[in-house]
């Protein structure tokens, strides 16, 4: 199949999504108030509130419920529309851009101009319920995912400046994307190709003469872009109050609105005396995954960033369905590990279980009043187990593939164990 076929099928997929976005039935579902699909940091209703306050000369960061970055304020008061109908179209196009970036990453990994799996990968992103439902709820997590994939695409292509630029914008939308900076740098220096089967120490394929200095120059460029973005944010917000309300919010968790993540109920039930300690523990816990995963997967930095996205998709403070959704869609990029997955059926069933229980128990607790908070909390624990199973299985398969011998193991001649 040549490129013309993919263009056609991709357009068809996007058209289907557009049709889904404009059906009046979706409006009646009132998805934008759903706590699974949008969290306080990426809710459309709060974005509207912030834009309204900003337009009426009230500082949206002086209090209240607005936790979005000032970049959204500047974007929606100038370029992007604020009416609901047009926003749905914009969000669908954002998702389409993310799907296109995912296909581009796949093509870079396989060094192909086009392949027969392109349509499947685009469909895996566009029709993943974990991704299109938050998109229909107009959650700004779609923007975050799109920027993440664009940054990864340019990093795979080896173009440092666009990649670091998109990464710096993403830093302002979601502080925890800074955890993906190390595999980014590694990806810029090496290649996106699959070296899972024969792992070696890190080889800077793109630039054999690269040294620590090159890496530091990339980091420096990223910091410069981030500083420029910070100055833009300060100009838009008219002060430095936005820092506490955007980055500070994910570190101090002032808003305890329920979401599918693990933080909210933990910090609801926490006594005040221990709050700062556990906030520190949870944040440092995320940092701890970066170095080991990057070291272990130094031969394949794209897989390292995939694994870290899995970690983020499970342990982020204000989680929505879109964060593990990105991780699950990126599974499509690594078909080589499928034979080595240890428990794919268990993972699928856990996800199905959680996906059915989460909205049910949420509605029982808050809308109907016949359940209590524990029901929803239990379903978030199941969701956490599902995400954990998916992430651990991916890492296992990524390491196990280096040993090989699938057939021998199936026939009972050999056994592969860990020691």
């Amino acid at each position: 199949m040549n490129w013309k076929d993919f263009r056609l099928s991709f357009s068809l997929l996007v058209l289907c999504r557009l049709l889904l976005a404009v059906t009046p039935y979706v409006d009646s579902l009132e998805l934008d108030h759903d706590h699974q699909l949008s969290s306080p940091t990426n809710s459309y209703v709060r974005l509207q509130e912030g834009i309204f306050l900003y337009k009426h000369d009230v500082d949206p960061y002086s209090g209240g419920a607005f936790y979005h970055s000032p970049l959204y304020l500047s974007l929606f008061t100038t370029v992007l529309p604020t009416s609901r109908f047009l926003c749905r179209l914009v969000w669908t196009l954002v998702d389409a851009l993310g799907a296109w970036a995912l296909v581009g990453i796949w093509r870079e990994r396989q060094t192909l101009e086009s392949s027969s799996r392109d349509t499947l990968i685009a469909a895996a992103y566009l029709f993943n319920p974990y991704l299109f439902l938050p998109n229909l709820a107009l959650s700004t997590a779609s923007f975050e995912n799109m920027l993440q994939l664009l940054a990864l695409l340019f990093a795979c292509k080896g173009r440092a400046s666009p990649a670091l630029f998109f990464a710096s914008i993403l830093l302002h939308l979601s502080l925890h994307s800074v955890l993906l900076l190390p595999p980014f740098i590694l990806l810029l220096l090496s290649s996106p190709h699959s070296h899972l089967v024969n792992p070696k120490f890190f080889i800077a394929y793109r630039n054999p003469k690269a040294s620590l200095g090159t890496a530091l120059s990339y980091i420096g460029e990223f910091l410069v872009y981030a500083a420029i973005m910070s100055l833009c944010c300060t100009t838009v917000a008219g002060g430095w109050g936005w820092v506490e309300k955007t980055w500070g919010v994910v570190l101090t968790l002032p808003d305890l609105t329920p979401n599918p993540g693990l933080w909210w109920y933990f910090f609801t039930e926490m006594f005040d005396h221990f709050r700062p300690f556990f906030l520190m523990v949870f944040s440092v816990h995320l940092l701890m995954y970066v170095a080991p995963i990057c070291l272990k997967f130094q031969h394949d930095p794209l897989f390292a960033s995939f694994a870290l996205l899995g970690v983020l998709g499970m342990f982020k403070p204000y989680l929505t369905l879109a964060d593990p959704g990105l991780f699950l869609s990126m599974y499509a990029l690594f078909p080589e590990i499928y034979p080595y997955l240890y428990h794919p059926l268990v993972t699928t069933l856990l996800h199905l279980h959680a996906a059915l229980l989460l909205p049910l128990f949420h509605s029982l607790w808050l809308d109907q009043g016949t359940g209590n908070a524990n029901f929803f909390y239990a379903s978030t624990l199941v969701f956490g187990m599902a995400n954990g199973a998916a992430m651990v299985d991916a890492i296992w398969a990524g390491l196990r593939i280096a040993v090989g011998g699938r057939q021998g193991e199936d026939e009972g001649e050999i056994a592969v164990v860990q020691e």
Partner: protein, 536 residues
């Protein structure tokens, strides 16, 4: 004290009081207003005002210089000390219980009828302590003085509205401006232990004069009751403390024969034994019914404009009664009155069954033939957050967003200050204006829930300030609301911590197992020695 008074002959007492009064002129006036209503109820309003002539509020700049001794004879010493300690110029405290029905009872004589405790004060800036520090001290001192939990009107309930609460007296022209602090506690209960210190602030206490009618058994049985303390300064007169008690009684309920005849004995279970000798003026005003046959007993001192006035400066066991001799049994009027008792009325409700969001709905009815400009004030604790962009105004079915202007909004801080929404609302004539706004209900931390968490949180009343044709500001209070917030399971902190941490630790452990361990291939050929081959 009473024995001593009886021992000293009256002329000597008056001479002593006269000399004391001439040095710092203090005067005391008391008044009781009784108004019977169409539905058989009686509104009674006591007003005791003590004027400290020529006094000036204390300038906060001289707070550090130490207090000059103040000699009061009639002015309440406890309250005076509190005012001077925290340099408050104007103070209004009200403790009310019940919901004032504007439609059935009309406009109250004492305007501050919001349920619960409300305290607002104009405090001058200056000196070492900030306005907020002195506000905190003032709250706690008043809490001790009145045995009410006014001290819990902390940062989570204090706001500074700019338009709605203008000073009722004058503010001294000091170099630094005055600031307003306003706070409400809708869930405050009012009872005898608030009335007792109230009576202690009066010169005659509860022993003589009109204050002897304040019988707590009957007052707290009333359909609505509220006490208030107002301190203000007039430039040419001095500092005035006015203590008021307002109550709505139901004589039909209390009578044995279903008649609405009442007397002081039947309402208060007391009569006035003797007059307060220190009062410069003391009177009872009874509003007489119109278009009905009535009998009022004893003969009033004068009748002016349908109001019977009794001069009670010299009485001995006075009992005023109002009877309807031609009525055998009172029948509650089922038709609407020809003219509504209140021309502007406000209703506020919180709609929605979900514990995550709701809708705040306010409807204001204007039955006057002219347009009114009113100030709408909403101070909402952070538990309920407004979505201001969803505010819609509908008048008789038509959307009229132009009626709301000059919106001043201070967003709330989670676990901190309340939201303040103050705006100027234009009410079209003969219509009902509906304001609807979506709100979000917050999720509180474990330690922030009160012990009876399932009861819900009381939300303070909204205030509508409109300007009467006479130029007076009239404040209308809506009812307080009860919001039901989602509660976590209070028995589970340990369980939640261990379960969440177990999941995190298991995932962490599995991932780091994979990171740190090596894979080893073990050959399982039958009969042969197993040989190890290191592979990574």
């Amino acid at each position: 004290m009473t024995l001593a008074l009886k021992a000293i002959p009256l002329p000597l007492l008056l001479y002593v009081l006269g000399t004391v009064a001439s040095s710092t002129p203090e005067t005391f006036h008391e008044e009781l207003t009784l108004r019977p209503l169409r539905d058989g109820k009686v509104i009674s309003r006591f007003s005791f005002s003590t004027l400290l002539g020529g006094a000036i509020p204390r300038n906060p700049d001289v707070l550090d210089a130490g207090n000059t001794p103040q000699h009061y004879s009639l002015f309440p010493l406890g309250l005076g000390q509190v005012l001077r300690e925290y340099a408050a110029t104007e103070l209004h405290l009200s403790l009310n219980s019940g919901k004032w029905e504007y439609d059935r009872w009309g406009y109250p004589d004492e305007q501050e009828v919001g349920t619960g405790a409300q305290l607002w004060a104009w405090i001058g800036d200056g000196g070492q302590a900030t306005v907020d520090e002195r506000w905190k001290g003032l709250r706690n001192a008043l809490a001790g003085l009145f045995c009410a939990s006014i001290g819990s009107l902390d940062d989570q309930r204090t706001t500074s509205p700019t338009l709605a609460f203008a000073p009722e007296g004058d503010l001294p022209a000091w170099p630094l401006p005055h600031h307003l602090r306003h706070a409400t506690l809708p869930s405050e209960n009012v009872c005898t232990e608030n009335l007792t210190p109230f009576l202690k602030l009066l010169p005659c206490k509860g022993l003589s004069g009109l204050a002897s009618l304040l019988n707590p058994h009957r007052l707290f049985d009333a359909d609505w009751h509220g006490m208030s303390v107002h301190v203000s300064w007039r430039a040419r007169r001095g500092v005035e403390v006015r203590l008021a008690f307002q109550a709505v009684f139901d004589p039909v309920r209390m009578s044995t024969d279903r008649k609405r005849d009442w007397s002081l004995q039947s309402i208060f279970d007391r009569t006035i034994p003797k007059a307060c000798p220190i009062a410069e003026s003391s009177r009872i005003a009874v509003e007489l019914p119109k278009n009905e046959a009535y009998a009022v007993d004893p003969r009033p001192t004068s009748v002016q404009d349908g109001v019977a006035v009794y001069d009670t400066s010299q009485v001995n066991d006075l009992d005023v009664s109002l009877r309807w001799p031609l009525e055998s049994v009172f029948s509650y009027p089922l038709d609407h009155p020809a003219e509504p008792l209140s021309q502007v009325s406000v209703q506020r409700t919180l709609k929605g069954t979900s514990q995550s969001r709701g809708q705040l709905s306010v409807s204001i009815a204007n039955s006057l033939p002219s347009e009114i400009q009113a100030i709408y004030l909403e101070t909402m604790p952070w538990h309920v957050q407004f979505y201001l962009h969803t505010l819609k105004i509908v008048v008789d079915g038509q959307a009229r967003d132009d009626l709301l202007s000059d919106i001043a909004y201070t967003p709330p801080e989670p676990h901190g200050r309340p939201a303040l929404l103050e705006s100027v609302l234009t009410l079209p004539p003969n219509s009902t204006t509906h304001l609807d706004m979506e709100v979000m209900k917050s999720f509180l931390r474990y330690t922030e829930h009160p012990p009876d968490a399932q009861r819900g949180w009381d939300l303070p009343p909204a205030v509508l300030v409109n300007f009467t044709p006479g130029g007076r500001r009239q404040r209308l209070y809506t009812r307080t609301l009860l919001v039901d917030l989602a509660t976590p399971d209070f028995s589970m902190p340990y369980n939640v911590i261990i379960m969440s941490c177990t999941l995190i630790a298991l995932t962490f452990g599995m991932v780091f197992n994979l990171m740190t361990r090596k894979f080893v291939v073990v050959r399982l050929k039958k009969g042969e020695k197993a040989s190890k081959e290191k592979a990574d």
